[in-house]
């Protein structure tokens, strides 16, 4: 759409600007403030320069948490995106099945995150949970509270349970926006199912899929509540992702300086990846 230049449009944006600035700028300044100083309580501060940043960037603890975080995000994207597309492709397109699918599939998205964690905790407990009990009855030695591999398996399964629906809903919407004429043309050309998917459905879903990947990346990279309730970051530190580690440092040990420095580094990483994504997305939009 060709937009008119109108500087008065700023008046429309002011409420949003104030509300978000109120919430973002002031707390962010606090974090920046802490990240360069040492505090001794009672509002006594001493300038520390970039010491905390160096400390965090060189610490093995941070590297380990970052590594776990990247592995987790990578795995869930690898599972959720193809699975979401597959489910969207097989969903009914009309009839009573549509609202049933939409309502039931949206359910996990609207459950508070700590309830998701608690629910999966009692679902996966080896003695009283359905998942844990069944796996053990089948002969697997499964105990997510003690074995790191099982803890990872459970955390990933929980995230797949929680968020795949978002990818499904997005892909489904993308598929629905395809005109029937495209399918008819494909049929006349005798295109195979795969060719239809590859050359008609996938390109049409490009925009929503970029969005799905972006959202899933952001949210999985910031994941805190669900694994915290499910495993508490354990056993040991094996499922302590970045946010869990950060909160432990900030509120548990009250190491405000290092925690603030870590917050900024963390935020910067998310921002950087999203900026790249956002530019790609805008480029796509400009093309189409």
């Amino acid at each position: 759409m060709n937009k008119t230049i109108n500087q008065k449009a700023w008046y429309f944006v002011i409420p949003v600007f104030i509300l978000v600035a109120f919430n973002a700028a002031i707390p962010l300044m606090t974090v920046v403030n802490y990240s360069f100083q040492e505090t001794f309580g009672n509002n006594v501060f001493a300038w520390e320069g970039t010491r905390w940043f160096k400390q965090i960037l060189l610490s093995e603890r941070f590297h380990a948490a970052l590594g776990r975080q990247i592995a987790f995000t990578f795995i869930i994207l690898l599972i959720q995106i193809p699975l979401g597309i597959a489910i969207a492709l097989t969903m009914p397109k009309k009839g009573w099945g549509v609202p049933v699918c939409l309502i039931l599939m949206s359910m996990p998205l609207l459950i508070p995150w700590n309830v998701v964690g608690a629910m999966w905790n009692i679902f996966a407990l080896p003695d009283i949970g359905f998942l844990g009990h069944s796996l053990n009855a089948l002969g697997f030695d499964y105990n997510f509270t003690q074995q790191p591999g099982d803890a990872w398996f459970t955390t990933i399964l929980m995230d797949v349970w929680h968020w795949t629906s978002l990818v499904v809903l997005l892909s489904y919407a993308g598929l629905n926006s395809i005109q029937p004429a495209y399918y008819q043309a494909a049929e006349i050309d005798g295109a195979s199912r795969w060719a239809t998917f590859r050359y008609i459905e996938l390109p049409k879903m490009k925009k929503v899929l970029t969005l799905a990947i972006l959202l899933r990346f952001m949210d999985s990279f910031m994941i805190y509540t669900e694994p915290f309730v499910l495993t508490g970051g354990g056993p040991g530190n094996t499922t302590a992702f970045l946010s869990i580690d950060l909160v432990k440092m900030a509120l548990g040990q009250f190491d405000l300086g290092p925690a603030a420095a870590m917050s900024l580094i963390y935020f910067f990483i998310v921002l950087l990846v999203c900026w790249v994504f956002y530019n790609l997305m805008m480029k796509n939009e400009a093309q189409s």
């Binding site: 937009k3 949003v16 608690a118 509540t225």
Partner: protein
């Protein structure tokens, strides 16, 4: 192959429902039964967990608090986002692209980063432990989202609509509320749905910013669980009840969800 297509969504839905069923199953058991016996359905069916929640004010007030700040937040977010989204969809102005990206960055900020400064900030302006504090703090991620979704819907409305209305002698205010808002009603509905959803499910900030007076249900759950041992039955019942508001909201917007996504924005 086509014949078995229904299997994929069906299996997926079964997978989705299993943990929810397990939670509901547990909520009708006594804690002793949960710990001592493994059964697929309650052996001694009991509703005492639910009775406890509905008669104990620390429990049911948790629901009232959660719903209060969620509704506050939904209205604040949508009301503020409407004019802003209109500006972004219709006009070019100084710094518009930067502003839009800056808004989005706030959706990307890990809440864990903000937990402590939020606590200090809201305490210093005497808003700690109020519904409005939680509602305002959730604006951090809901306003960018609302602007983003609404901008998508508004851009889909041709500009000729605005121009025709002005030619017909409508003032901006009358045009906006009488014509434009009804045109994008579905979009506003979707936006409210997402704002409600993200405010309802968020816990880290809500828990950090409250102590007693505005404590959300989800926080009530974690605290009770840690103080009086682990009352699994009660926890399960409370968890089950948190699913209900979401389910009601989904039911109302079910026809719009797919349509809303189709506009290409979440």
């Amino acid at each position: 192959m086509k014949k078995y297509k229904w299997l994929v969504p069906t299996l997926y839905i079964i997978f989705l429902m299993l943990p929810i069923y397990w939670l509901i199953n547990m909520s009708f058991k006594t804690t002793t039964e949960i710990i001592n016996t493994y059964s697929l359905w309650p052996q001694k069916f009991t509703t005492e967990n639910y009775v406890k929640i509905f008669t104990d004010s620390t429990w049911y007030m948790g629901y009232v608090n959660s719903i209060t700040y969620t509704v506050f937040n939904t209205f604040i977010s949508v009301a503020a986002a409407l004019p802003a989204a209109y500006a972004f969809s219709r006009y070019k102005f100084l710094g518009d692209k930067h502003l839009f990206f800056w808004l989005l960055t706030n959706r990307m900020a890990p809440p864990a980063v903000f937990a402590l400064p939020f606590f200090q900030f809201y305490s210093s302006v005497n808003l700690f432990d109020t519904h409005i504090a939680v509602a305002l703090s959730h604006c951090l991620f809901n306003i960018p989202l609302a602007v983003w979704i609404l901008e998508g819907f508004m851009s889909a409305v041709p500009k000729e609509l605005d121009e025709t209305a002005y030619v017909d002698g409508y003032s901006f205010g009358r045009f906006f509320f009488k014509i434009f808002v009804p045109t994008i009603a579905a979009g506003i509905g979707i936006t409210m749905f997402f704002c409600f959803m993200f405010s309802w499910v968020e816990l880290l900030l809500a828990k950090t910013l409250t102590a007693t007076a505005a404590k959300p249900i989800a926080a009530t759950m974690t605290r009770t669980a840690s103080t009086s041992g682990y009352e699994l039955g009660l926890l399960a019942a409370a968890g089950t009840l948190t699913i209900i508001p979401g389910a009601i909201v989904i039911y109302f917007v079910k026809n719009y969800i797919a349509k809303g996504f189709a506009m290409g924005r979440v």
